[in-house]
């Protein structure tokens, strides 16, 4: 009987102490009596994605075509800068079809064996055509070739792959990351050729628009 009473007393005491402790936690403002009190906050900094493109220099192809000269090349370039962490793409298109015109005369847009797939420069007899290629850090060499020069003496570099312009965009460079702070340059090579035909004398121009877009 005595042992049972003691057990009861101990049990009740423990329960009471526990309840008192719970009550203490509820009514006691924890912060106000703590020796230390922490608080966390979050600082957010947003970095906006941006992209810029340089002004590609207008170019006069060289040499001039004539009755004795059948090939001419030229080049220009664009410098793209972006902090967009998923990168960018650079597209080009012509303002007219065909691209290179002089009044009523023109050079046909370069014709590929497989339409739209860049290939080594080659113009069939009796044709005169105008096309382009590209090179740079963000240009796919499998598509555009592996060289870093447009050629010489009016002859396109044999390692480059050319395609004809369209009035719709075609991507010449792309990357999945931001550019370096200094940007990334993509060069474009132009080529024109007359093969056993004469282009009527005149000034031929093509307006090419490059568009850099964040991905």
């Amino acid at each position: 009987m005595k042992i049972i009473s003691m057990k009861k007393i101990i049990s009740i005491s423990v329960i009471c102490l526990f309840l008192l402790q719970m009550l203490y936690f509820v009514v006691e403002p924890t912060i106000s009596v703590a020796a230390t009190a922490p608080d966390s906050m979050v600082v957010t900094l947003n970095v906006d994605a941006g992209i810029s493109i340089s002004d590609g220099a207008a170019v006069t192809m060289a040499p001039n075509l004539s009755t004795g000269i059948s090939g001419s090349i030229g080049s220009s370039s664009w410098l793209v800068k972006t902090n967009n962490y998923t990168g960018y793409k650079l597209d080009v298109k012509a303002s007219a079809s065909p691209a290179l015109v002089s009044g009523g005369n023109s050079f046909a847009d370069y014709t590929e064996t497989s339409v739209g797939t860049p290939e080594t420069w080659s113009v069939a007899a009796t044709n005169k055509e105008f096309g382009y290629s590209a090179f740079g850090n963000d240009t796919v060499t499998g598509t555009w070739g592996t060289t870093a020069t447009c050629g010489a003496g009016g002859v396109p570099n044999a390692s480059m792959k050319y395609v004809g312009f369209k009035i719709t965009d075609k991507t010449i460079a792309t990357t999945g990351v931001a550019t370096p702070y200094a940007g990334t340059t993509t060069s474009i090579c132009f080529a024109a050729e007359q093969n056993t035909t004469y282009a009527p004398a005149g000034v031929y121009t093509a307006t090419i628009t490059a568009t850099a877009t964040t991905l």
Partner: protein, 221 residues
């Protein structure tokens, strides 16, 4: 049984009476003085307590981008304490590099001082770097350490107050004291402001959101 208790009670009363008689006979103060006094010690314990307010989360302004290189922000904590010996207020970061990109894998390095650990004027970060640091001001923030100023700077341009001294958070993620007092605060508490600054110089931070979680701890001295 009842008789036994009665005996015990009687014996107890007699004993107490006996003891009381002895006491009266040998106690001069009580028995002989015309005036009797006695001191009573009253004790009141005032428990030391301390509280800290919930600082507002902030978004620094302006956004950094390709044409905006600087950004600032501020928040504040109000500390109330009755601690006779005052308090300290310290801050720390939750990641070794405090300001981390949430998805782009990039970050702003912790601000590097000319003398490591000593706040200095935000003179611009070195070329090719981007950094994030902090300063503090308020009644209990020592101006000798943090500079004498009362605003973080221009929130439109992100330019810091030229008098503010900045430092970086620690890679070890340990506390850095920003304010202290050797006496209790007022009932309303004492507010300490924290200024944040970020800058990129001749480098682009990758686009996206960056966050730093800062924990302030007020400790009774």
């Amino acid at each position: 049984m009842e008789t036994k208790y009665k005996k015990i009670l009687a014996a107890s009363i007699i004993s107490i009476l006996f003891v009381q008689m002895i006491y009266i006979s040998i106690e001069p103060t009580v028995t002989m003085a015309a005036v009797a006094s006695d001191g009573v010690v009253v004790t009141l314990n005032v428990t030391s307590g301390l509280s800290i307010s919930d600082a507002t989360n902030i978004t620094m302004t302006p956004n950094i981008g390709m044409s905006a290189n600087k950004s600032i922000g501020s928040s504040a904590w109000t500390v109330s304490t009755n601690s006779a010996t005052g308090y300290t207020l310290a801050v720390k970061n939750s990641t070794a590099t405090a300001m981390m990109g949430t998805i782009n894998g990039d970050n702003f390095a912790n601000y590097t001082e000319a003398v490591a650990g000593t706040p200095d004027l935000w003179g611009g970060v070195a070329s090719g770097t981007k950094e994030f640091g902090f300063s503090a001001y308020g009644t209990d923030a020592p101006v000798g350490t943090w500079g004498s100023y009362s605003t973080c700077g221009n929130v439109g341009s992100g330019v810091v107050d030229p008098a503010a001294k900045y430092r970086g958070f620690l890679p070890a993620m340990t506390d850095i004291q920003i304010a202290s007092s050797a006496s209790p605060t007022t009932v309303g508490g004492t507010t300490t402001n924290i200024c944040f600054a970020a800058e990129q110089n001749a480098v682009y931070a990758k686009s996206g959101a960056y966050t730093a979680t800062i924990t302030a701890t007020a400790t009774a001295s």
